[in-house]
Each structure stands twice: as structure tokens, then as C-alpha cells.
Symmetry: C4
Subunit: 218 residues, 4 copies
């Protein structure tokens, strides 16, 4: 039996990976230009199928990503067909894909307001948004008269601990559209990259507005 | 009798629509780059004639508008010769065209300072500007010694209610050069796109200055 | 005697005007991109000789100046060989050229911090800078240990009154490197456009730092 | 014995200088675009070997550097094979290269937050960072649970005095990853330009976050 060594059998769709890598690089460059990925921080991913995601390699400058800076992991956070090292925070991406089958893209950034708000609201455990028209940018919210909570989880170097906290939140049946990590940054997601970007921009805007109001009421 | 199916009889000037669509897309891209249209919010329009306006289709990214993202509505807010869905806020655009026959362009944006100022001044019902040279950028104002009021209307999902409030303000004979909606954003307009942009920029600048003064006096 | 009607006798150097117009347009575009010329405000000039200056025409968008947007005035503020209308504030430019024979460029902008600081320090009549390394960017200052005063003059629509106040300041022998007008903006100048830009940037930076310190000490 | 006058014997690698000059110009342009080098301030350098560094010539616009704006100095701060004048602050660059043999690039900038924070923390003599994920962007820091101190040295026109203060800090065995000078700006460095940029961006981000927290707690 002849088997050509040139034919690779990859457990994911190679052309979909190429397309996702381009989409991730383009969006990362725009987010870097906004200053939301300082000092090579932040990571981004897109779902490939029900077991795999494309995710940024650890430690690269997010304003200058190329095809080699995107790798594949499975939903147990193992690199697939690559020597590259995924970010320690990959587990937070795959958790979202496992728990929300319709989610297609996860974005994690470190803007200044995301970091500062996470510190300021860490004690309360969440930021509550009320009365802002922009709440309607979050899928499922059709009026500014609703209440939108963005939880703040404690920071830790132990990803399993963080995953467990987020699982506990979801298991308690609380709604989750994104979350902050104390002193760190934000996670936001959507059915595709466009919705994930819209959600991320809406949270950034709402956090800026809340902090502005605080400064003005002081 | 032969009637060519290729000849469309549109109730508006098709080439004027094409020109306006380009002008709207160009200006929207610039306003998006300033961060005034977060998360696909905001909408823009230009007058076509005494019964029709070109207006942005609901929910599109304002930094990347193409010809298909601009549609025509009549002044009763009905889509004309299109399957596209206009923004729910279209009624606020057509109200301005009906009440001010010389207005040629209406801009609605959601910058951070517009949203924050609307919350801060909602109780007072208006923002009062005095002593700023930039007040002269609003047509009809020739000195910084005048007083310029920008009303703040309560937010509601019921457009008819909002239209009625604005009509009541105008029927009372009060001057109206633009307005804020609480927790939401601003409406500004002018005889053409250039004047509408100048008015919008002037209000943005003046709101920023007022809020800065508050932060410094605190 | 034959006199060719095609030969214009201009009282200034036409090719120098063309060069200055390009320099003004290029610098205005960069300052507009920084947001320092909101809503068609601001004006810019360069010296042509000991009686004439090139100055921006009133009311144009400073981000999009062309050759037609720059005109010539003499030092009595009269338009020369043009139908264009100079800015009402032209008198403030020509005053500087008359009083400082080495000055080659004058810049007047309206940034947010320039406007806000002018209001905040109007009562004191000046902003005093001490202990900032950037003071050394102002020609003649070689150490941060010096004191640099930026006067704030009251705003008025009467240019002759403003000119007289500035003359009085200079006649009293006080140093003048630039000035604010209350609720309005800044004037800065230099021997050429590069030095005028450096001075303008230094004042903008120093004003921002002073206001930041105030907000933090509150 | 024939000696060709065309053969220059330079004590450094000429092609390495050309490469470093390009790297410095590219990075300076990006930092200038961020507004961190106002009014021709700031200076940048890269190591050539164990006795020489390429450094920016004094007083140039950092957004428009060319090959002629980069010169060579030895580690005693003497210009090498050039008539150009190095910045008075060159001694602060060569000090770092002498004390840290692995350092390949030194960046000195003057952003607004660097200047303001230096004034605010001058009394304390340092800024202490705790609990920020971005502390991990500084080489050697692997957790946000560590403490990172950025010292603030008094400003002086006497470089020898400043060099002595920094030497004293290092001789006392205290860790040094960068430092502020009161009323002035920051110095940051790394094994190569990429690491120096990452460190500079991380300090800028952390200083902004600390000042934001202060404004919000006031």
C-alpha cells in the first residue's frame, strides 16, 4: 500500500485556519492601533470546529501578526500539529467555546480603562450598566432600560482556578456577556468576529462612560 | 403598447442619491475614526428633495459604509424603492427636515462626551454654553458673549414620544441648533454636510470644555 | 510706450508666497489632525517681507487648505491684490510681525486644553510654568529652573482693544513668548515655521501637564 | 609604503551603525506619533559594541529622523568620527550600557503622563506598582503579585550629578528597570529595541493606570 508522505492529515480545516488567521491578524492590528494591546499583551481566537480553535501564539506584538503567529489548539488546550506555545490564558478561550456552542470568536484585551475599572470594581465583583443606549449593542438587549452586569473575577496565575470561578458563575445561571479580571483586562466574545468586536467596543465605551461619571461626581 | 421594464420611475433623483451616499460614507468614515460611532451605533442623513432623504441602513459599521448601506425614506419614515430597514431613529431625522426647510444634512453620533454630558445635564434639561469663542461656529452666533443652550431630552424607545417633545420645544419658540438624548448621544444639522459637521464638531468641543472645567473645579 | 497687461507688479515675492502657502497648508493639516482647529477655527501666517504676510482666509477647514485659502495682507491688515477676506484676527498676527522683526511665523489654534486653561487662569491673568524640562523648548530658556509666564488676555470682538492690551504688556517690558485669550485659544510664534511649531507644541504640553496636576491634587 | 586615503579606519562597525540608525529612526517616528516626544525633546540610542553606541543628535524632530540625525559616541560620551553634537543627556545612555553589558537599546521619552507622574511622585522618590498584570511585561517579572518600583530622581542640568545618583542607587543593590526624572521624562531599556519598546510601553501604561486610580479615588 502506497501512502504519500506529502499528504498531511490534519484534524481541522486548513483553509479555514488560513482565513481565520488573516481575520485575527487584521482585527488585532486595529485593536493594537487603539492602544488596547500594550507591550505584547492580549490574545485572540476564532473557532475552527467543535473541537478546535485558532489562537494567537504567546508574546507577539499584536500590531504585526503574521500567519506564523496564529496556532491551533484543541478544547483541552493542547497545541495541534505545531511546536508553538499557546498563551497560558488559552484555557479561558476554550472554556467559552465549550460552554457556548454558537460563539465563533473570543477577544481578550488590556486597554487602560479595562484595567483601571477592573481594579475599581473588584470589591463589588461586577460593573453594573443602566440607562445607556449602548447597552443595546450587546446581543439580546433591546432597550436601555435593562440592567447589564459585567463581572470582575480575581486575578490569579492559576488558570484552572479562574476557569472554575467562571464555570461557577455560569452554573449558577447568571448571564455572562463578557468579564473583567482584576488588574488585568477584559474578555468578550460573539457569534463571529464582527459581533465580538461590537461587544468589545460597547464594553470599552460603557466602562469609559461610567468612569467619567465618577470623576465628574467626585 | 410597449413599456420597457428597464425604465424605473423613482420619486427621487437617482444621481443625487449616489452623490449623497458617497458624501455620507466619507463623513461617516471620518467620524468613526474619531470614535464617535462605537459598536455600529449612530446614523446619518442628507435631504434629497422636499419629501425624501437618504439615510443610513440600521446596524452597519459606520467606518465601512458602501452604497448599499444608504437607503431612501420619505418624510413619513417609509422606505422608498428598497427592502432595507431604516433605523428606528429615522423619525428624528425627518422631523428636522420637515420643520427646517433649509436643512440639508442631519448627523447623530454617540461620542463618549456626548453620552456622559447627556447623563450629567439630564436633570437640568439643557447644557448652557457661555463665554466660549467656539459658540461662533454655530450659524447665527457672531459673538462669544451670547448664550447657547443645547437641550437634553429624556431617552425612550418610543420615537413618537421623542418627536412630540422636540415639537413641543420648537412650538414654544425656543431656539434649537442640536440636542442631546439622555444616556444616548447628540443630533446636529446644517444647510449642508459641511455646516452639519462644523456644528457637530463645535458641540463636541464645547461639551468637552464644560466637562473639563467641572473636573478642574471639583 | 507698450506695457504688457500680462505683467503683474505685485508688492511681494510671488514665488515666496507659493512656498509659504504650501508650508502653511502642510502644517495646518497636521495641527487639524491633532484636533487643535475645531469647526474651521484657527488661523496661521508667515512673513513675506517687512510689510507683508501670507495668512489663511477666514472660515476654511484647516485640514484641507489649498493655495486659494492663503492670501496676502500688509501690516495695516489690508488685503493685497486679492478679493478674499482675511480673518478678523489678522491684526493679532501683523502686530507680532511689527513688534518682533525676527519673527517669521505666527500660529493661532483652539485646542481643548488651550481653551479650558484660558478660562481657568483668566482671573490670574497668566499661567506660570516652573520646574518642567519642556520649558527649555522655548527659545532663550536653557534650564527648567527658570520661570515662564504665559499671559491670558480677556476675549473681545474688538481687535483694536486686544491689540492695545498686548502692546501695553510689551511696552511695560514684560517678556512675551505666546499668549492665551480667555475662552478662546493660543497665539505662538517663532523665527520660522519649525520654531513656531516647537513653541506651540511646548505650550500645549505644558498646559496639559499643569491641568493634570490640578486634577490629581484636587 | 602606500596607504590609500580612501580607506577609513573606523573604530565601530559601519554597516551595523546604518542598520541601527534605521531602527532608531523607525521607532522614533512611531513614538513621536504617540505624542511622547513633544517639541524636539527625547533621545534614543542603540549599542554598537562594548565601547560605542549610536545616539540621536541633539534637537532634531523625532518624527522625521534621517541617517544624518544619528551619531556615534564612545562610552566616555565623546563624539566619534563626526562633527555633530550629542545630547547633553548622552551620559545617561552610556551609563546604562556600561553598567548593564546585556542592554542593547535605551529610550528616553517625555510623554505627558511620564512628566506629570514624575512631579507627583518626586517627593516619595519612586512609583510603586502592585497588582497589575502588565508588570509581567518587564523582563524577570512573572507574576502580578510582585512589587515593581520605578525610582524618581531629582532633575538637574548637571549630568554628572544625575549619573552619580543613579550609580548610588545601583551600588546599593536596588533593582533598576527604568527611572523617571522629576518634571522631565522616563528612561527605559532592554536587550534589544523590541524589549526596550515593550518596557517603555509597559511603564507608560502602568503610570497612566496609577494616575487614573488616583483621579477616581479623590
Amino acid at each position: 500500500m502506497n501512502r504519500s508522505p506529502a499528504i498531511e492529515t490534519l484534524p481541522y480545516d486548513k483553509s479555514l485556519l488560513a482565513a481565520h488567521a488573516q481575520t485575527i491578524a487584521d482585527n488585532a492590528r486595529e485593536l493594537a492601533a487603539l492602544g488596547w494591546t500594550p507591550a505584547t499583551s492580549s490574545n485572540f481566537s476564532m473557532r475552527l470546529d467543535d473541537r478546535h480553535a485558532a489562537v494567537t501564539v504567546s508574546g507577539r506584538d499584536k500590531g504585526r501578526l503574521g500567519a506564523d503567529d496564529i496556532m491551533v489548539v484543541d478544547f483541552d488546550n493542547r497545541p495541534v500539529a505545531t511546536e508553538a506555545r499557546p498563551s497560558a490564558e488559552t484555557a479561558l478561550h476554550t472554556q467559552i467555546y465549550r460552554r457556548f456552542p454558537t460563539v465563533g470568536a473570543v477577544l481578550h484585551t488590556h486597554s487602560r480603562v479595562q484595567s483601571v475599572a477592573s481594579r475599581l470594581f473588584a470589591g463589588a465583583g461586577k460593573v453594573r450598566f443602566e440607562g445607556w443606549e449602548l447597552q443595546k449593542a450587546i446581543s439580546g438587549y433591546s432597550t436601555h432600560e435593562s440592567v447589564l452586569d459585567l463581572p470582575v473575577f480575581p486575578n490569579t496565575q492559576d488558570m484552572a482556578e479562574l476557569v472554575a470561578r467562571i464555570d461557577a458563575w455560569l452554573d449558577a445561571g447568571k448571564p455572562l456577556h463578557g468579564y473583567l479580571i482584576d488588574g488585568h483586562g477584559i474578555y468578550a466574545w460573539g457569534i463571529d468576529m464582527a459581533e465580538a468586536r461590537r461587544h468589545l467596543e460597547a464594553f470599552e465605551f460603557l466602562l469609559n462612560c461610567e468612569l467619567d461619571l465618577r470623576r465628574l461626581h467626585a
